[in-house]
Amino acid sequence: MENPTDINISRRNLLKAGAASATAFGTPAMSAAQNTAPPQSLKATVTLTVNGNTHELALDLRTSLLDALREHLHMTGTKKGCDHGQCGACTVLLDGKRINSCLTLAVMHDGQQITTIEGLGTPGALHPLQAAFVKHDGYQCGYCTPGQICSAVGMLDEAARGMPSHVTGSLNERPLLSPEEIRERMSGNICRCGAYANILDAIEDVAEGKA
């Protein structure tokens, strides 16, 4: 379990937090009477492990995981579409599971493993899903593609673990990845160019082991 004292507090931030408490936010002021409460700060030092590399970042607590990746680590493969969890462009893998990086705070992931599109393959050695998207032209503008691919990686793992979906017939049988299953399981990723038919073909290829 993570230790709350791992959150690094600088004196400056402490003072800033104190000022904010007294004005806009009504946070309990730092005082001897509050000594059981945790130190109050608006910033934290967060250790993120992204694609196997560990980074220590001093972040405003409000920083989403998405913004930490793009604005602080300058890994711009992960895209910001709606920033509200509706489009899926920001999909990354957190300890192997796909999530919307816009709907979580970086500070909540101290010490966890994050995989982004940059960690799946390289231009010289594409991930099978990247290769399949190229082969099937599974994009037009390409903006949703990193999210589509990260989501598909997570989706194939979920299916391999036997996780059911809304369209799975019997919940007591292992689901097979029919086109209907893939469409349902990928419904958290929107492609406004409408490349869905080719996205489906690309994912089917990998699901069937053809890629």
Binding site: M1, E2, N3, P4, I7, A17, A20, S21, A24, F25, G26, T27, P28, Q34, A37, P38, Q40, S41, L42, A44, D60, L61, R62, S64, D83, H84, G85, G88, T91, L94, K97, R98, I99, N100, L103, T104, L105, V107, M108, S151, G154, M155, E158, R161, G162, M163, P164, S165, H166, T168, L171, N172, R183, E184, R185, M186, S187, G188, N189
Partner: protein, 316 residues
Amino acid sequence: MRAFTYERPRTDAEAAASAAREPRARFIAGGTNLLDLMKIEVETPSHLIDVNGLDLDRIEPAGDGGLRIGAMVRNADLAAHETVRRDYEVLARALLAGASAQIRNRATTAGNLLQRTRCPYFYDTNQPCNKRVPGSGCSAIGGVTRQLAVIGGSQACIATHPSDMAVAMRVLDAKVETVRPDATRRVIPIADFYRLPGDTPHIETHLDAGELITAVVLPKPLGGKHFYRKVRDRASYAFALVSVAAVVQDDGAGRVALGGVAPQPWRDASAEAQLPDGAARVTDALLAGAAPTPDNAFKLTLARRALGAVLTQART
């Protein structure tokens, strides 16, 4: 987003005590609803209490043949759990009908129960909303109401509860276990968990200030056939216009709750007692006293037809 402070408590009781010290604190679990609302400043907590590190993420047998689901169990993991798939299919189906796979991987059992309404006026900070700003008025009444409640609303609020999972929990008579800021624990039946809006629509549950959900307990399995039928504007990743959670036994008796029609999952014992007499009898009784608008009166017909489809399926 407004600035906030942040902590990770070590125990559930510590989390509740901390929340009681700071009236504008919020617990954060998956964050999929709270952060969305914080970005548009509908939610403006001064302090976040991260409960992800608490040891509340297990699914285990409960004493009476039931199942205890830790508050932090993710929706995806709950839907995929072998016992839930086998013995509580209505719950697995409801979970799988909600949100997207990415969101289900983060959203938690307790957070799902506590998600806020999707009423468009609640989200629009330029318009009055009694749920967002108590006493400011309700823009939905007289506004665009297609998605909103047909029953259980008040002159102050006609928002619906958006959860699919909660409708299944209601039909299963789940119990909500909590810890309060003084470290005492209690159990709240799901039937007594939500509050109707009345003139205080901003107060949505019977939880005390700072009270933290620690688990949801399912009673022993009901048997029968389980259904969760959700009618929505898209085939996937959309909130319900109407949903039906039902457990139907071989003799035609059973249980039914509706989602998408009211400020909380909607169930009534005398209505479901009429299940053997057909869908119309049940929904007529269940929705007696409905006060739909011209925009959402279709939900009454839709509920009857959705339940009718479920009962037809139950007979096959």
